[in-house]
């Protein structure tokens, strides 16, 4: 492999193109071009500079991880946090345990709460209607102690259902923020750089 400026820039671009917006990519690459340019002014060879900068793979991964973390901070979306998680994984395989497992567990838990909430929100009004029909005499099947108890019961179920669904959204948002901070902590430990909350 030819260890010169063109090659270094080419390798960085290869790893970052399509992942970073073109304007940001060019801005980042210009930093490295300037590094080579000034280094050469000081009398160093391109190969020496290539080596001292560090493997393009390593550098590119760190650029990516930083980019996605900040993107997830600024725009809340599941796509962004997923990309941030993947980029963080790219930095260290042992993160698989500390990042992916909690993440999956969280998704499952949120989904479960949501489903239970939806179920209750659907059954509650149904039970309410049945209770009303019982009171009015149109329904003879005895599903609970008394139709009045049924009214309270169904109202309660509906309320709990709505609480679960609404609470789930707040929970999801809360864990999104926690997740971002956790990812940043991971990045900070792995790359040794801090991303401010």
């Amino acid at each position: 492999m030819l260890q010169n400026e063109l090659e270094y820039i080419r390798l960085l671009r290869e790893r970052l193109e399509g992942t970073l917006p073109p304007e940001e990519l060019e801005d980042i690459l210009s930093d490295y071009r300037e590094h080579f340019s000034v280094g050469k002014e000081k009398g160093r060879s391109e190969q020496e500079l290539f080596v001292s900068l560090g493997a393009p793979d390593t550098v590119a991964r760190e650029i990516k991880a930083t980019h996605f973390i900040r993107k997830a901070e600024n725009t809340h979306s599941w796509g962004n946090i997923l990309r941030a998680v993947m980029a963080t994984l790219g930095l260290g395989l042992f993160n698989l345990v500390f990042v992916v497992v909690p993440f999956i567990f969280l998704l499952v838990m949120l989904a479960f709460v949501f489903l239970v909430g939806v179920l209750f929100t659907a059954l509650g009004p149904a039970a309410f209607i049945i209770s009303v029909l019982q009171i009015l005499g149109f329904w003879s099947l005895n599903l609970w102690l008394s139709p009045v108890a049924g009214i309270f019961f169904s109202t309660g179920i509906t309320a709990v259902g709505l609480l679960l669904v609404i609470g789930d959204f707040y929970l999801a948002r809360f864990f999104y923020h926690i997740g971002i901070r956790y990812l940043k902590w991971n990045i900070a430990v792995i790359t040794g750089t801090e991303v401010e909350p």
């Binding site: 340019s37 900068l53 560090g54 550098v59 040794g192 750089t193």
Partner: protein, 116 residues
């Protein structure tokens, strides 16, 4: 996080202090990219290329601003300068570092006493 053995542990230490090192150097004077990288790599052996994304982030967070300045030896260079909030951050991190290293040193020295 998991503890990593030997050299890898050393790398984690170095990386952990990179931000405070960058802010400290800039607290003394504005630097252009290469100059800053050179200053740091004189003391710490790291992949120099990883400093640029860090600088970029510090700029995003408002701790650092950049400006171009003409150079006698070639094309204009991008200079990094610490902002007010950057100076505050540098103070805070330096305090934290001092407190941390003082505690660790006390522990290490205490341990040596016991060994004798």
């Amino acid at each position: 996080m998991l503890c990593i053995q030997g050299d890898a542990m050393n790398i984690q230490f170095k990386k952990g202090v990179l931000e405070i090192c960058v802010l400290s150097v800039l607290a003394h004077k504005d630097c252009y990219g290469y100059e800053l990288v050179n200053e740091i790599s004189k003391r710490i052996d790291i992949a120099e290329g990883t400093i640029y994304p860090l600088l970029r982030r510090l700029k995003d967070e408002g701790f650092v601003t950049t400006y171009l300045q003409e150079s006698a030896e070639g094309p204009p260079r991008k200079y990094y300068r610490l902002t007010e909030s950057g100076r505050k951050e540098e103070h805070e991190l330096k305090d934290e570092w001092t407190r941390f290293t003082t505690s660790v040193n006390a522990l290490l020295l205490g341990k040596n006493d016991a060994a004798e």
